[in-house]
Amino acid sequence: MSAWLQIFLDFVWTSAGLALVAFSLGLILGELKIVNIAQGDLMMVGAYSMYAMRTLPFLVALVLTFVVGLLLGFVLERGALRWVYDKGFMATLLATWGVGIVLEQGAATIFTVSQKGIDSPIKGLIEIGDVAYPAYRVVVAAGIIVMLAGLLLLVYRTSLGLRLRASIDNVEMAAVLGISPQRTFAMVFAVATALAVLAGALIAPTIAINPTLGLSFLAPAFFAVLISKPGSLGGPVLGAVAVEFTFTLLQAYLNITVAESILFGLLALLIVVKPQGISWSWTTAREEAS
């Protein structure tokens, strides 16, 4: 029983981090129609930012890192991506790939490639059932779940979210109704970048920090987005939970390499069978079925 509870708690922890990255990736793909290859490297920036500010109180460093993420996103969108929006899919893919390489090499130059680490701000374990689980992971997972719920409420229940979803659906008609595409693109990329950077900052105390740390998050986050309906913002969050749930189950019985191979094989098969993505909305799924 305690082994399964331990597995469940690990699943919640990893799902929360992946869901934040997938939401950010889905936001960029939905609004800007860009596949952001640099997403993992943005997480790496967050982790290194926390390392660079390790002498500051953790929460102060976290807030400053989020601000760094917003500024970085704004600079990348205005300085690089806006020049390639109308150059097609391959140009934007290469642009974000280039950004990723610059970030990785920049981190390696500044911090060297040797692994770094930061202390967890919350020490100790929390007793959940008969499992003692790291308190930091419980707090961060709960924080991310609350934050994602807040973001989804913002997207689906506010005027700002309505404008955002409208410009994801039809950017030209949104402009006809007075919504600025340039301003929306810059805001979305800055916020999405800050969320990826924040995800890296939050997991930093639990991992070894190195310039390529984001790579291991990139593939599962992409699959979480790809198995969702295009343009959906809640979909990547549920996609992340589905990806992590499958991976956790496989990992319970198989070694990690075999589990990963089967997971990605299954996800690739799912995309072939259902290229339009899974509708996580019951009403939409019912309409599609009828």
């Binding site: 309505l162 404008r163 979803r165 659906d169 039809n170 949104a174 402009a175 109704l177 007075g178």
Partner: protein, 230 residues
């Protein structure tokens, strides 16, 4: 003058499609733009609202020239556009499509869109992308009216719709233009319908205006009708 167009030329990139087009439109005036397929009617409308490139000429609203290739200032000045593909936001519900228009409204609309299109009220929670073509056209017109516009520009009102829906939409447009002094520019493949809705007509051929005048006069002219035969 609400809307003044002077010698505009427009198109996409290096391709010039419409040229030398001028006309004026004041509050409550209605203008039908007619012509065979491929004569530049849609490009003209897109140039007027800043969705296509304008290479020459001026578009003025209340005497103020507006920039080319930027639709946002038009929205701020109460000019709205319904494209030929209806342009509904497919993943937003019907109610959200209308709410979005109200959020960016030029003025509070005097038109009761619920009364004009009761079917949309019943389908308020349905995603717009799952509506039929006729329902989407109703939503596109309702959304445009919800912005409280002074000038409504509609591309292909009747395209692909059954006659009863076309008739309902035409009656709705006639009612709002007459009672609310809404100006209208309408492109449609059906000259009789367009001339019934609009007081004036302009015929395009190869990107230029070749005939213009009151609907009642031109509608009775055989040579004018020949210009519209495909």
């Amino acid at each position: 003058m609400l809307f003044a167009v002077r010698d505009i030329a427009g198109g996409y990139g290096a391709i010039h499609i419409v040229k030398n087009i001028s006309f004026d439109l004041d509050a409550g005036e209605t203008l039908a733009v007619l012509g065979r397929n491929g004569m530049g009617k849609t490009t003209l409308l897109r140039t007027l609202v800043g969705l296509a490139d304008r290479f020459a000429g001026e578009v003025k609203v209340d005497g103020e020239p507006l920039p080319a290739r930027n639709p946002r200032p038009f929205a701020r000045l109460g000019i709205t556009y319904v494209p030929d593909d209806r342009g509904v936001f497919p993943r937003l519900t019907v109610a959200e499509n209308i709410r979005l228009a109200r959020l960016s409204a030029y003025a509070q609309t005097e038109v009761d869109v619920d009364a004009l299109f009761p079917e949309l009220k019943w389908r308020a929670r349905q995603p717009a992308g799952t509506l039929s073509g006729g329902q989407q056209q109703q939503l596109a017109i309702a959304r445009a009216l919800a912005t409280g516009p002074r000038l409504l520009i509609v591309d292909e009102l009747s395209q692909g719709l059954q006659p009863s829906i076309v008739e309902a939409l035409a009656e709705a447009l006639i009612a709002v233009t007459r009672h609310n002094r809404l100006a209208l520019i309408l492109v449609d493949q059906n000259p009789k319908l367009a001339m019934r809705i609009c007081d004036r007509v302009m015929v395009m051929q190869r990107g230029e205006v070749v005939a213009a005048g009151p609907s009642a006069t031109l509608g009775a002219d055989e040579r004018f009708l020949d210009l519209l035969i495909v």
